[in-house]
Symmetry: C2
């Protein structure tokens, strides 16, 4: 499906963009009850069309194996019964969330007599780019519809057939609920040219949300003419301070690094105050025998003096790395200021945590570290829409504007000013 | 000052960007009291350095007249005593605003025991591009400093000397207050290449705010790799509905069109319900003899039948025009739906108003019109940070994300998640 010429591709995307724009316009007049109805119908369709979904998924899996995709990648493609159940449960959870649209905030009568407030409205048309996992088609579309938006999805080539059938079922559900069919559209082209063409559709797409690797994020940031909410990599740090409870610190490091190493909120770099390194490092290496350490020279020294196995020396790349694997970069720092400086230089503004019992240090770390979630004495793994109480999540934004951190339904909306007068003139 | 090679320009901007980044980092630890102090010192400097400011301004005015700039353009350059007084008064008003930084919202204990909230933080480094009026240097910088940001300004070439002296005074004020000097920087190059170079500095600039003509907005939207808050043109509409009080409607149209025609919230296109056009048009033409009308064929017919002077026929361009002048496009529509459709097609999402006494129409117009301020029975001239109670304004955003409408101090900030635990692990 990548055999369209660039001209035809641009034409296809313009026509999809216009349909999405029209759908977004219609969506502005659709009640929350009707939007919920479409999600409930979609949940039923997932239940009753399991064979059709499995057949399409099988095609993707066969192609993936023929293309020698790695086992974890093939795994991420597979729409197991469990994943379908989770999607159905997820749709029901989204239905249960309060409707954000039309809510009015800060309504007041100003001195000159105008009654002014801010009304929550959909963003309009969301452009979403994602890789591999086909369940994102349903998750992203359900959040877009709940929040009154239209969405144009561009999934990865590996999930081509699975994404197609899921998007088709969603469109059927929209039509059955009386919603515009084109509020959910999947681009039937999976090459890079489709991304560039999307990025130039600023007349039709209000925001781009790229979720994927560094190259994708860079391409979209450079090409997009509309706002971009980046879902960038997570180079997450934990700093174990001088006053830390070292038993607690060990448990937190183990949890942050190993509980699910392949996700963006997993720990990648551990910073240790030099005064506690000698005591902490043996505990850590004993607790994480399955983790490879990449260490600074001071850490290497301590390991050697303690008669512990030598670790790989860390290079500049290690401080920038999102391993997504059982590897941990370790650096000893002089004090909290050096820890904060290291984070300012290398963090991807995703998640950072301090382990400390010093109140002033806890406060300073929270105030000065510029990341979407800053924690005290807690695992980095908490940066997640469900864990932070948002009820759903379209991803984690590392862009500071509009939404910084996990994005739920409310983050897919904006506020416009409204004013009621009685012939009010400006003087 | 446009004689730098592109390489030198890029190097200059990278070094300015790094200085701004460092300043932004320092600003995160500066108290609101210290930020206010720098603004009060700046207010004093404006008072005591009037001669220096006037001399620099005179250079700009001489150059402007030598270059045959139009009288209104020369006028916008002039830093009169009144404008300096207004700047001083503005600085005092900004000081009096509450400090947004560090405020924590939605703090609660979640089910798993983590205490989570959202802390208001500066955006970081703001890149601001503006044309002509040199007072924007002081206004934009004061809002950036109040909200804990650093700012890189790129003003228009006409105000080169005035901007230089104002930025220098601001830097002196910062230093005297113990703030980082480079929290306010003015790019000493005013050609387009400087804009493009800024747009590629996404490693240093967190958000771009272009304020100016269509070409500037388009250039920045296309080139910027960071988020852009567009301050686009205002193609503002008023729709006079069938049930409108026509005396009120006439007053509102006159106010919106003529009270200050050269600004973005002035009325540009008037839509009239066909059932009231015959009665309204003679009142309007009588009340606005100084306004040129560009009219649809139906309007032309009514004017002719009423024996009124003929008006210029409107072309497609007229429906897209931001005249910023005593010109008004007029179109007769069948009903409110046609009015809403016309607005959806031609509006710049700035300000739209309905004049009506029909409750359902008022509600529908407010719900369905997708602009930063939607009004009922009020002049479009109210779309302004001061009029809407924000206390200050860096401009009016026509981008829907992050801030839609007038942007004050709070709109130059964002929220990060913070979490306090006691060894909390993810299960």
């Amino acid at each position: 499906m990548s055999d369209l010429s660039n001209t035809n591709l641009a034409e296809l995307l313009v026509s999809m963009g216009k349909l999405a724009n029209d759908a977004a316009k219609t969506m502005r007049g659709i009640s929350g009850a009707a939007r919920n109805k479409s999600l409930l119908i979609m949940a039923k369709k997932l239940q009753t069309n399991r064979a059709e979904i499995a057949a399409a998924n099988e095609k993707d899996l066969t192609a993936a194996m023929a293309n020698n995709l790695s086992a974890p990648k093939v795994d991420r493609l597979r729409l197991t019964d469990r994943i379908i159940e989770d999607l159905i449960e997820g749709l029901n959870q989204v239905v249960a969330l309060p409707d954000p649209i039309g809510a009015i905030e800060d309504f007041k009568i100003l001195e000159h007599g105008l009654k002014v407030g801010k009304m929550r409205i959909p963003l309009g048309v969301v452009g979403m780019i994602f890789e591999s996992r086909p369940n994102v088609t349903v998750e992203a579309a359900s959040l877009a519809i709940k929040s009154g938006n239209a969405i144009i999805l561009r999934g990865g080539s590996e999930a081509f057939y699975s994404n197609q059938v899921l998007a088709k079922l969603f469109q059927d559900a929209l039509v059955q609920a009386g919603l515009p069919k084109h509020a959910v559209q999947l681009i039937p082209v999976t090459d890079r040219a489709a991304i560039t063409a999307m990025c130039h559709l600023d007349s039709c797409i209000d925001v781009m949300i790229p979720r994927g690797g560094e190259q994708l994020i860079r391409l979209v940031s450079e090409q997009a003419r509309m706002p971009v909410l980046k879902h960038d990599k997570g180079v997450c740090h934990m700093f174990v301070d001088e006053s830390a409870d070292l038993q607690m610190a060990t448990k937190l490091v183990v949890n942050a690094k190993t509980q699910r190493p392949g996700v963006c909120n997993a720990l990648e770099t551990l910073l240790i105050h030099e005064k506690v390194a000698q005591e902490l490092l043996p505990q850590l290496t004993a607790a994480m025998t399955n983790v490879e350490f990449r260490v600074c020279p001071k850490t290497a020294n301590i390991l050697q003096q303690a008669g512990l196995p030598a670790a790989t020396p860390a290079t500049e790349e290690d401080w920038q790395a999102e391993y997504l694997d059982l590897i941990l970069a370790v650096k000893i720092v002089d004090d909290i200021d050096q820890a904060i400086d290291h984070i300012a230089q290398y963090s991807s503004k995703h998640t950072e945590s301090i382990v400390t019992n010093n109140h002033e240090h806890a406060t300073r770390f929270v105030d000065l570290v510029d990341s979407s979630l800053v924690l005290v004495n807690a695992s980095t793994r908490f940066n997640d829409g469900f864990q932070l109480g948002l009820g759903a999540e379209i991803g984690i934004s590392t862009s500071k504007l509009h939404a910084f951190g996990p994005m739920g339904v409310k983050e897919l909306t904006t506020l416009k000013f409204i004013g009621y007068g009685n012939g009010n003139l400006r003087t």
